[in-house]
Symmetry: C2
């Protein structure tokens, strides 16, 4: 972050059953929204129409393409031109890609305007809408451009989240389990024991999961120490699976969690006593199963695995990746492991040919 000394301020969280009144964001609010929401949620278009200005986009990684950015920004600047720069507020309603894009826009429009996030997917509600990371992609290389820019408010709206198809619920379970394992402690005891499922489970645990993420983020908001890196639990393999099998992020993270937990157990970093409740949460409560070895499964060629591991932008060096092991819920261990050792374990767990 250059020579900036920056204090991260947590956004205000607002949980509500329905959409917030557009009026609360002032007369200079521009809504950036995923057009897909209107297709699922009755009344959303009418809500959009109440904003002083609105910009509809199609969510997805293509939205974050740097090459498409000038055209988007030109249209958003034309909308912003009607308002005084001082009170400008960008309200973003959408999933992870729309949040990354809209947050980036807010951070560079007139050198930064107010930002409000209304995540529309469980995955963004539980994870990406929090912590102030914004991002664009360059071709297939993700998130190489971006800013740290915290929202002023994040609205968690039940009707918006419930409007998603049930397949999006699975996407968030991996991140929920991840943050529960990282955070640990008695507050998570109810998670493994409960019998809620699906949307009810996610809505119930959303406040706890978000709080747990902020507990990590505030200690290292700009990733200058290695503290925030623990949030990468399950992601080192997860990102490789996401890229190779084109899995959704959430599903890939769930697979990566199983991998990290099993490797931690094998290395005896995670004791058998500590392993038991972790396995109960992942295999039992969440119902995760390793895809490696299932019918129709095709392992990743070694060469491809190594190339993907080496292109990990969070890799430690040319030959090592920082892997997050679990010692017990609430306690992780970062190790810079040789990519060869990482590949050997992936082979042992059935991922490599």
């Amino acid at each position: 972050m250059g020579s900036k000394t920056v204090t991260f301020v947590r956004p205000t969280l607002r949980f509500s059953s329905g959409l917030p009144s557009p009026g609360r964001f002032g007369k200079s609010a521009i809504l950036i929204h995923d057009r897909a929401i209107s297709r699922h949620l009755k009344g959303f278009s009418a809500w959009v129409a109440k904003f002083p200005a609105a910009y509809g986009v199609e969510g997805g990684e293509a939205l974050k393409d740097l090459n498409a950015f000038p055209a988007h920004m030109t249209r958003i600047l034309a909308l912003a031109d009607r308002f005084s720069a001082k009170d400008l507020t960008i309200v973003v309603a959408g999933g992870g890609s729309v949040g990354d894009f809209g947050g980036f826009v807010a951070s560079i429009l007139k050198r930064g305007v107010q930002l409000v996030q209304i995540p529309s997917t469980w995955l963004s509600a539980i994870d990406s809408a929090h912590g102030g990371k914004t991002a664009l992609n360059l071709g297939t290389v993700k998130n190489q451009i971006g800013t740290y820019y915290s929202a002023r408010e994040v609205h968690l709206v039940r009707s918006v989240l419930l409007a998603q198809g049930p397949d999006r619920i699975r996407d968030a379970l991996g991140e929920l389990a991840k943050i529960a394992l990282i955070d640990g402690g008695r507050r998570w005891a109810g998670l493994a024991k409960g019998n809620d499922t699906g949307a009810a489970l996610l809505w119930k645990w959303l406040p706890e999961a978000i709080d747990a993420k902020y507990r990590v983020v505030v200690r290292d908001p700009y990733e200058q120490k290695r503290i925030r890196q623990v949030l990468n639990l399950g992601h080192t393999l997860g990102h490789i699976l996401e890229a190779h099998y084109r899995l959704s992020h959430g599903v890939a993270v769930a697979q990566g969690l199983l991998f990290a937990v099993e490797w931690s157990r094998k290395k005896r970093l995670l004791s058998e006593t500590a392993y038991e409740p972790v396995a109960e949460l992942l295999y039992g409560r969440c119902g995760f199963r390793s895809l490696a070895g299932t019918p129709g499964f095709r392992p990743i060629p070694l060469r491809r695995f190594l190339a993907l591991a080496r292109s990990d932008k969070k890799r430690f060096s040319a030959t090592r990746v920082t892997f997050i092991f679990l010692r017990k819920p609430g306690q992780t261990r970062l190790e810079n492991v040789e990519i060869e050792a990482f590949a050997a374990e992936a082979r042992a767990q059935g991922w490599l040919a």
Copy 2:
């Protein structure tokens, strides 16, 4: 700035007679440099070649065009790919446009990397390289996109500054006089009295001018209060002249200063006693003369003047601009004046048809 609480950290200033050793910026330094410097400064190309990576650009407003940005960023990311993100440093050698562009790149590359500025023009050395503003343009609308991102170091290199043509000296005199009037006090007594001219004058007063700017910037680095706005002294008319007559920024600001001082005097905000040394500095020491009414001068049509005044992105409202008056050196007064009153004064001083 959304919900960020940010403390501005002054960069380290380094005054030197020759270029700093490229090695001091580490093994992951990318130099962004104005190719024009090599055409003026012997040995510059050899210095460039010593950087781990270098990206040459042509300075000027076209460099800051948002539509050209993806192509630039793609090439810079390809260079950055060789290095670990953690130690990446962007070193920028160039004038105002290159500094704005390179600073913006550093602020969004991998969510922000180290930044070092080596201003190559007197104008950037005295003004734009300091204060952390970065910017891109959208078509002819300037600086609508950008970040606040402070450099870690700013190097003021005598040989680089001396390599410019003497016509660039005039560009910086307006900003020097401006900051002297804003800052005031005994430390500037020597400026009006001295008999240095040209580059010697600028080099001598550079540390004092930079210090004076930081004294303002640190009190309002993100322009949230109205404190930093005093740096706009002379710029309200200046920007209009710059756009209409295509004057250089420095020359336009000098004209704007004369206008602001004469208007302040007419309104009796600036007493006759206080006016005298100010006039001595501007008309005497700096040799500024109003262009309005000189042979060949063509006044600005009223309609055009009003359109330019209304498109001022720092305007206070649809009908008013914030004008910076001078009460005495070291004391300014901000007034939100009607654009009609501003136009009437411009007519009185000979600028309008």
